[in-house]
């Protein structure tokens, strides 16, 4: 029995709840290019939701829409019962969205600890002046944030590279640090853009384990994009399949696996 199976077989600490995020008829165009066409799906609280699809299917665009990087021309996004309009990445961060990137976007010259601390900044209440003068509130907050960062470091088992500069780390560890930074913001929803791209099997297994642990331990809702079908099927509760910017499947991994449109998209048929 694999790790993932055993976790899914046992009861969950945070039972999957009602919809926390609903996307309705989202369409996104860049000039004449239809990146996303009339896509609707929802994400339930505490679930692991995957978005899959062949290259150029619009997966990253989808994530960027949720995240507020792109403004869709049509459609609406509802988060925790509240309709969101004019999203920006900053707003999204304050609402409780946190993400990692397909091409790692860490502060390469900074240490692992500093990168993760940077993820805590959102919680800082002290003003610029208070921080600059090291007034009590700023100092207290820094201690709290350091404790939070250390908890994440322990959680992700990266104690040994705490003080190492990020650019010197191997790829798999950088991915883990990026996950750590995203976690530091204490997100309600974690958006992961191909968290396992370019990893070897062992690194993938580690990453799977950490994603499941995050979901299990913190109850974080996870939306992830992934290329590797095997990983997706093991990891997620439900899967959305995109192809050429359209939704062609939505359901549990088993349902998706037996969906003819999905099989065609992956094996390739003439369009």
């Amino acid at each position: 029995m694999t790790v993932t199976q055993s976790l899914q077989a046992s009861e969950r600490a945070f039972a999957v709840g009602g919809p926390i995020l609903e996307l309705e008829s989202i369409s996104l165009r860049f000039g004449g290019v239809h990146a996303l066409t009339n896509i609707s799906f929802n994400v339930l609280e505490h679930e692991v939701r995957a978005i899959i699809g062949p290259n150029g299917a619009g997966k990253s665009s989808m994530l960027n829409v949720i995240n507020g990087i792109y403004q869709p021309q049509e459609g609406s996004i509802t988060f925790a019962g509240q309709r969101l309009a004019g999203m920006t990445p900053t707003k999204a961060a304050h609402l409780g969205f946190s993400r990692t990137f397909q091409n790692i976007a860490l502060y390469r010259g900074m240490s692992v600890l500093d990168n993760i601390m940077a993820g805590c900044t959102l919680q800082t209440r002290a003003s610029f002046l208070e921080v600059a003068l090291q007034l009590p509130r700023a100092r207290r907050e820094e201690t709290e944030q350091r404790e939070a960062a250390e908890e994440i470091i322990e959680f992700l088992q990266i104690e040994h590279i705490r003080k190492t500069q990020v650019s010197r780390l191997p790829y798999g560890l950088q991915k883990r640090v990026e996950l750590g930074r995203a976690l530091a913001a204490r997100p309600k929803i974690l958006l992961l853009d191909e968290p396992m791209a370019g990893m070897n099997i062992e690194e993938k297994q580690d990453m799977c384990r950490f994603i499941l642990d995050v979901n299990d331990h913190y109850g974080t809702t996870v939306v992830l994009i992934e290329h590797d079908m095997g990983v997706v099927m093991d990891l997620s509760d439900r899967v959305v399949v995109l192809d050429y910017g359209k939704k062609i499947g939505d359901g549990t991994p088993d349902e998706v696996r037996s969906n003819q449109d999905v099989i065609d998209a992956y094996l390739g048929v003439a369009h």
Partner: protein
């Protein structure tokens, strides 16, 4: 003080004394979430008594066995104290053992209670639980990932401790009486030895014998409660238990647990241990790390390092031979200490070390010399689980690289005509667990224990180890052949991780080489050789050339030593896969299991001797079963240096 000490013949009694005498001083430190957290002697005693109360409530009788499996943590040692408190026997196992490997010892000990560090250990225990019906209670320390587990046997350490504290508050006097009931001769530990030759044996040791050995070591080194030690080796090994449990119980020093094995060096720098136990493998890895990091540094640094290390080695070799260093060397040593030795000691976290021991296996002279040259007082220690670990030790001012020192206080040595070492010592084990036959085989009525090691006493009264008895053989021309000394020389090369030398009942000496993939990988990077992984690296022509060169160097060194001149390696092959404990090719403490290796690589060994230059070898697949894949291994010849005498004649 001696009269006071004599009554303190068990660990709980010692623990109570420390709580009384130095209650606020640190007993253990642990780095957790980036901060060193201290457990004082009083806190440790309180925790032990609380756990003991809770364990008693859960029906732990005197003389029962409690298994402890996990990394070095204050909680593991508190649990160990609690077990001893109730007169039960602590059975520490290796944390990296597979579920199968754990089943045997648990069944044999009929363990009733188990302390497991985390989910990983609990999973293994639950897997074998149906076959271990005696296990009634599993205590887990870290609760991460544990909330789904509903097995009735499971209880968290925190809950057990909470329950225990309530109980202990009411019953403390009765509990202290329970601790006082123990006798020195009661069994304290059941260690399962690594077993290079056969399956693991359970060795039972009493409180008194271990306390006696620790006192001898403390007296020899002047250890006291200002000393600091690191606990980083497996607690399932008697050596670690002695240094992180027995010795602090005797002298009251503080033990530090690093955050993880990867952070050891940084943690050592922060804590500055004064007393350090290492295995030759650890020291060799440290040396390799230093060498490799230097190769990546600039030319000036390298030149400086080479120059001053040569000075230090020369001075230190002379000091070991009992001669004074030349005036020039002494002046240079002062400069070297400022520029090289001091900073290096600091990087290794060894600036404050007063005494460091290498134990568990024999160490290569080069490695020993390196650390001594840096000014670190590294010494060899000889002993085994059965003999209470301290049998012979090198003394300050009388360190000979080729010996393991003179007999420790209280130890008598004797030798069979076959040169097997016999030991009689107060630290002797009680018995092999449930194996009276084996016990009488190993130890005769007069108390002499057969160590299974071949060795002899030099004229200076120092013990020299040849090798394990079964491996001491002879070449076909009658020359004595012991593989270990040759392997040690090979292993001290940074590119060679492990070597297996053959020669018994053969005409020549040949070797199987396990390359250090990281070191060779870096070398390949510098040579702009591309490779996909360890297997590919091992099959590279250039890498074989490199290893052939390195072995030729070792051959030159062997030729200079009359006793080993015949040991020069003619041919070698690089193993297609790493030797590992997971494959059963090494013991958990990293010693070679020659029988298993010979079996696995029989084709390769045959080819070494029949002149073939390549041979197909079956390699283990991902699932660990042999025969899934095969790879072609090439065999190379090595240049042999002429023996010293012959060269002089020519």
């Amino acid at each position: 003080m001696a009269s006071d000490d004599a009554d303190l013949d068990t660990f709980p009694k010692l623990l109570l004394r420390h709580a009384r005498l130095r209650g606020e001083r640190p007993a253990m430190r642990e780095k957790n979430r980036g901060i060193w957290r201290t457990t004082t002697w009083r806190a440790m005693a309180d925790e032990a008594v609380a756990l003991a109360a809770a364990l008693a409530e859960r029906g732990l009788p005197r003389g029962a066995h409690v298994v402890l499996v996990g990394d070095n943590r204050p909680r593991l040692y508190s649990a160990m104290s609690a077990v001893h408190w109730l007169g039960a026997i602590a059975t520490p196992l290796f944390a990296d053992a597979t579920a199968e490997e754990m089943a045997g010892p648990i069944q044999s000990a009929e363990a009733t209670h188990v302390f497991a560090e985390n989910q990983e250990q609990v999973d293994k225990l639950l897997q074998i639980l149906p076959r271990c019906p005696t296990v009634r209670c599993i205590v887990y320390d870290q609760d991460r990932g544990m909330r789904h587990y509903r097995q009735p046997q499971l209880v968290s350490y925190a809950d057990l401790l909470r329950q225990g504290r309530e109980l202990a508050a009411a019953r403390r006097p009765a509990l202290e009486e329970e601790a006082a009931r123990g006798k020195g001769n009661d069994p304290a530990f059941l260690f399962f030895t690594s077993g290079t030759t056969g399956p693991a044996k359970g060795v039972v040791l009493s409180h008194a014998s271990l306390i006696d050995r620790a006192k001898v070591a403390a007296a020899a080194e002047g250890l006291n409660d200002n000393d600091v030690a690191m606990a980083y080796l497996p607690p399932g090994w008697i050596g670690q238990c002695l240094f992180s449990y027995v010795q602090p119980m005797v002298v009251g020093y503080c033990v530090c647990c690093p955050e993880s094995s990867e952070t050891l060096l940084a943690d050592m720098r922060e804590m500055g241990p004064t007393c350090f136990l290492a295995t030759p493998r650890v020291l060799q890895a440290l040396l390799a790390q230093v060498t490799l990091r230097l190769e990546d540094s600039g030319g000036f640094n390298q030149a400086l390092y080479r120059r001053y290390m040569a000075v230090a080695r020369r001075a230190s070799a002379r000091a070991l031979a009992g001669q004074a260093a030349s005036l020039g060397d002494r002046i240079q040593s002062v400069v070297g200490n400022l520029l090289i030795y001091g900073p290096l000691r600091d990087v290794l976290g060894m600036s404050r070390i007063r005494v460091a021991y290498s134990a568990g296996d024999s160490i290569a002279g080069d490695v020993l010399l390196f650390f001594r040259a840096l000014g670190i007082n590294l010494k060899q220690l000889y002993g085994s689980t059965e003999t209470g670990f301290f049998v012979a030790m090198q003394r300050n001012g009388a360190v000979r690289p080729d010996s393991v020192g003179s007999a420790a206080d209280g130890v008598e040595l004797s030798f069979t005509p076959e040169r097997e070492i016999l030991v009689r010592s107060p630290g002797m084990f009680r018995e092999y667990h449930r194996d009276p036959e084996r016990t009488t085989q190993a130890r005769n009525a007069d108390g002499w224990f057969r160590t299974g090691d071949a060795g002899y006493l030099g004229e200076d009264g120092q013990l020299r180890i040849i090798d394990r008895m079964p491996y001491v053989g002879a070449l076909n021309d009658g020359t004595l052949h012991a593989p270990k000394p040759i392997e040690n020389r090979l292993r001290s090369d940074p590119y060679i991780r492990e070597a297996v030398v053959y020669g018994d009942k053969r005409d020549t000496v040949c070797a199987l080489i396990d390359i250090d993939a990281e070191a060779v990988g870096r070398w390949a990077d510098r040579q702009a050789i591309s490779y996909t992984g360890r297997a590919d690296l091992a099959s590279r022509e250039e890498v074989q050339g490199l290893i052939a060169e390195r072995i030729a160097k070792v051959n030159e060194a062997l030729a200079r030593e009359p006793a080993l001149a015949k040991g020069a390696i003619r041919r070698f092959a690089i193993l297609p896969a790493e030797l590992s404990a997971a494959d059963g090719l090494l013991t958990r403490t990293g010693k070679l299991r020659r029988g298993v290796i010979a079996e696995r690589y029989r084709m390769l060994v045959d080819a070494l001797y029949d002149g073939r230059t390549e041979v197909a070898v079956e390699t283990a697949g991902d699932d660990g079963h042999a025969g899934n894949a095969s790879s072609v291994v090439k065999i190379r010849d090595v240049r042999i240096a002429a023996p010293a005498q012959a060269r002089r004649a020519a």
